[in-house]
C-alpha cells in the first residue's frame, strides 16, 4: 500500500477521462498499466504523481494524503519519467542527470558523484556524458531522463518506500534498450521501490511486471497477475484486433493475428497511386 488511489475521477470539459479508477502500487513490485491510446493512462499517472488533482477520489502515499506531502519531501521519495521531454537548453548529459539530485538531502561530493556515475552506467549513457542534451536522439534523451529519475530516488530515505513512475519509457527505445529499461525497473523493485510503468507491448508486461492494470476509456477493465489480465480474447476485445497467444517454453507470448485482420475494405479507400 505504498501509493494508493481509489475511485479516481477526472474530467476535461465534457470528457470523462477517468471514471472510478482504483489502483495500488506496492513496494518491491513492478506494476504495468496498459490500454489503448486515450484510455487515460497518462492522466492516471499525472494524478498519481500529484501533478494534477482528481475531481473525485483520493490518492494517498505511505498512508498520507498526497496533497499533505511537502513537494520536496515527496520528491525525495517519488520520481516521475514523463512521456515527452521539454528541455531545449544545452545542458550536458551529466548536468541533466545531476538535476535529479536536487531534492536529495545532499551527501558528500564523492558520494553524489558516485550516484551519477552509477546511473549513467545503468542506462548506458556514460559515453554521452559530455554531450549537449539537444544533440541527442529521442531514445538517448529518454535514457538520460531515466538516469535522472533514478538518481533522484537512488537512496532510500527513512523508512518510507520509494516510488518510480514511468510513462511509456520504452516508446522511443530500440529493442535492446526496451529490455534494459525494464530490467532497471525490476532492479529498482528488487531494492524495495514501488514501480508503476505505462507500457504498450503486452509481451514486455508479461515478462517484467508483477501486476497489470488494463484500462480502456478511462476505466479499469481488469487488474491482477499479468497472465490472468493479458489474455488474447480480452485484448482482442479492447484493441479491436484479433490476438493470438503462443506458448514458448513456459512463457506466453501474445501476437496480433495479422492473417485474419481486415483493414482492407475496398480499393477505393487506398491513397491514390
Amino acid at each position: 500500500m505504498t501509493l494508493c488511489a481509489s475511485r479516481l475521477g477526472y474530467r476535461s470539459g465534457s470528457l470523462q477521462l477517468l471514471d472510478e479508477v482504483d489502483i495500488t502500487l506496492d513496494a518491491g513490485r513492478v506494476h504495468a498499466i496498459l490500454g489503448p491510446n486515450g484510455a487515460g493512462k497518462t492522466t492516471l499517472l499525472r494524478i498519481l504523481s500529484g501533478e494534477m488533482q482528481p475531481h473525485s477520489g483520493v490518492v494517498s502515499y505511505a498512508g498520507r494524503s498526497l496533497s499533505a506531502w511537502a513537494p520536496r519531501e515527496l520528491a525525495q521519495r517519488r520520481a516521475v519519467l514523463p512521456q515527452r521531454d521539454h528541455l531545449t537548453f544545452a545542458f550536458t548529459v551529466e548536468e541533466v542527470v545531476a538535476l535529479g539530485r536536487l531534492p536529495a538531502p545532499g551527501g558528500p561530493a564523492g558520494e553524489e558523484r558516485h550516484i551519477i556515475e552509477t546511473v549513467l552506467d545503468w542506462v548506458g549513457v556514460t559515453h554521452l556524458r559530455a554531450r549537449r542534451y539537444p544533440q541527442l536522439s529521442g531514445g538517448e534523451r529518454t535514457r538520460v531522463q531515466l538516469a535522472r529519475v533514478l538518481a533522484q530516488i537512488w537512496q532510500p530515505l527513512g523508512d518510507e518506500v520509494r516510488t518510480l513512475l514511468l510513462d511509456e519509457p520504452t516508446a522511443s527505445l530500440d529493442l535492446a534498450h526496451q529490455h534494459r529499461c525494464l530490467q532497471i525497473a525490476r532492479r529498482m523493485a528488487a531494492s524495495g521501490v514501488a514501480v508503476g510503468v505505462v507500457l504498450h507491448d503486452p509481451n514486455l508486461a508479461l515478462h517484467y511486471a508483477d501486476h497489470v492494470t488494463l484500462m480502456c476509456c478511462g476505466q479499469v477493465v481488469a487488474s491482477g497477475a499479468p497472465t490472468d489480465v493479458l489474455t488474447a480474447s480480452r485484448l482482442s476485445g479492447i484493441y479491436g484486433v484479433p490476438m493470438a497467444s503462443l506458448r514458448a517454453g513456459h512463457e506466453v507470448l501474445l501476437r496480433v493475428a495479422t492473417e485474419v485482420m481486415d483493414l482492407d475494405s475496398g480499393d477505393d479507400r487506398l491513397p491514390p497511386a
Binding site: 513537494p71 519531501e73 521539454h86 528541455l87 531545449t88 544545452a90 538535476l99 536536487l102 544533440q135
Partner: protein, 333 residues
C-alpha cells in the same frame, strides 16, 4: 573568471569617471573622491565628478546588472532563449505612462523630476501586472498566453504613444522621443537614493532562484516532480523582474538589447546553468552599459548620443555576428 570580469568592470568604471566634456585625470579623480587630499582641484571639477559622473556611473552599473540578470531569469522562466522582459509589457507600459505625463503634462503635486519616474514605474508595473493577470488560467499563468497578452498590450501601448506623439507640441514630442531612447544622464543622487537599494535587492535576490530555474528548464511538471513549487517561483521571479525593469525604465528610459543579448553571450561561454548565467549576466550587463554610456558621452562631445540608440546599434550587429558564427551550436538551437 568572475574576479577578472569584476576587475574589468571596476576599471571601466574608473575610466568612465574620467571621460566627459571636462577632462579629468586619474590624480584629480582620486582627490575628488576624497581618496587623496589635493587642494589644487577646483570646486566645479569636484562637482562634475561627485554630482554628475559618479551617480551616472553607479546608475549604469546598477541598471546594466538589473537588466542583464532580469533578462537571464526571464529567459529561464519562460524556457525560451528569445524572451525579453519587454515581452510582458513593462517597457511599453512605462513608455505610455511617461509619454502621457510629458504630453498631457499632468500638473502633479510632486516635482516633475520625481513624478516622471514614478509615472513610468507605475505604468510599467501596471502593464506587467495586467499581462500576468490576463494569462491566468485556473490560477496558473500560461507561458504562451502570457507572451500573446504581452504582444497585444505592447501594440495597444504603441498606439497610445503614437496618438500622444500626434497631439503633442514640438517640445513634448522631443522629450518623448528622447526618453524612449534612454539616457543615464537624468538621474542624480536623489533618484539613486530611492532606486539603488531596490535595484541592488533585485540583483542580489535573482541569482538565488538559479537552481530551481535550472530544474524548470526540464519542464514545469518535471520541476514540480523535483519538489519545486513552480507557481511560487514564478510569482517571486516575475515580481523581481518587473520591479527591476520598471525601476530601470523609470530612471533611464528604454534601454533595449541588454536583457536579451547579455544572457545569450553568457550561455555561449558557460552553458545554460543559471548559477553562472544570472550573476554573469549581471556583471556583463553592468560592464556593457558602462562602456556604452561612456562611448555615448565621449563620441560627440559635448553632445551625447541617447544610450538606447547606442546599445541597439552595437547590440544588433553583434548579435547577428554571434548568430552567424554559432548558427549550428546547440546553445542557439
Amino acid at each position: 573568471m568572475w574576479s577578472a570580469l569584476g576587475l574589468v568592470t571596476a576599471a571601466a568604471a574608473v575610466f568612465a569617471l574620467t571621460v566627459g566634456p571636462l577632462p579629468i585625470g586619474l590624480d584629480q579623480l582620486l582627490s575628488a573622491l576624497g581618496i587623496r587630499s589635493d587642494s589644487s582641484l577646483r570646486a566645479y571639477e569636484t562637482a562634475a565628478i561627485v554630482d554628475l559622473r559618479l551617480p551616472r556611473v553607479t546608475l549604469a552599473i546598477l541598471i546594466g546588472a538589473a537588466l542583464g540578470s532580469s533578462g537571464a531569469a526571464m529567459q529561464g522562466l519562460l524556457r525560451n532563449p528569445l524572451a525579453d522582459p519587454g515581452l510582458i509589457g513593462v517597457a511599453s507600459g512605462a513608455a505610455l505612462s511617461a509619454a502621457a505625463f510629458m504630453v498631457i503634462g499632468v500638473t502633479a503635486w510632486i516635482p516633475e523630476r520625481l513624478a516622471l519616474p514614478l509615472a513610468a514605474f507605475a505604468g510599467g508595473s501596471a502593464a506587467a501586472w495586467l499581462v500576468v493577470r490576463l494569462s491566468l488560467v485556473d490560477g496558473r499563468s500560461r507561458v504562451a498566453t502570457m507572451l500573446l497578452a504581452g504582444l497585444a498590450l505592447n501594440a495597444i501601448a504603441g498606439a497610445g504613444i503614437g496618438f500622444l506623439s500626434y497631439i503633442a507640441d514640438d517640445l513634448a514630442l522631443r522629450s518623448v522621443t528622447y526618453w524612449m531612447f534612454g539616457s543615464l544622464g537624468k538621474a542624480g543622487w536623489a533618484e539613486l537614493a530611492v532606486a539603488a537599494p531596490i535595484l541592488a535587492l533585485c540583483i542580489v535576490l535573482l541569482p538565488r532562484a538559479a537552481v530551481p530555474l535550472n530544474a524548470l528548464l526540464l519542464g514545469e511538471a518535471e520541476a514540480g516532480h523535483l519538489g519545486i513549487d513552480v507557481d511560487a517561483l514564478r510569482r517571486r521571479l516575475l515580481t523581481l523582474i518587473v520591479v527591476a525593469v520598471a525601476v530601470s525604465v523609470a530612471l533611464a528610459g528604454i534601454i533595449g538589447f541588454v536583457g536579451l543579448i547579455v544572457p545569450h553571450l553568457l550561455r555561449l561561454v558557460t552553458g545554460p546553468d543559471h548559477r553562472l548565467v544570472i550573476p554573469g549576466s549581471a556583471l556583463t550587463g553592468a560592464l556593457l552599459l558602462l562602456l556604452a554610456d561612456t562611448a555615448s558621452r565621449a563620441l560627440f562631445v559635448p553632445a551625447e548620443l541617447p544610450i538606447g540608440i547606442f546599445t541597439a546599434l552595437i547590440g544588433g550587429p553583434f548579435f547577428l555576428a554571434l548568430l552567424l558564427r554559432y548558427r549550428n551550436a546547440p546553445e542557439l538551437s
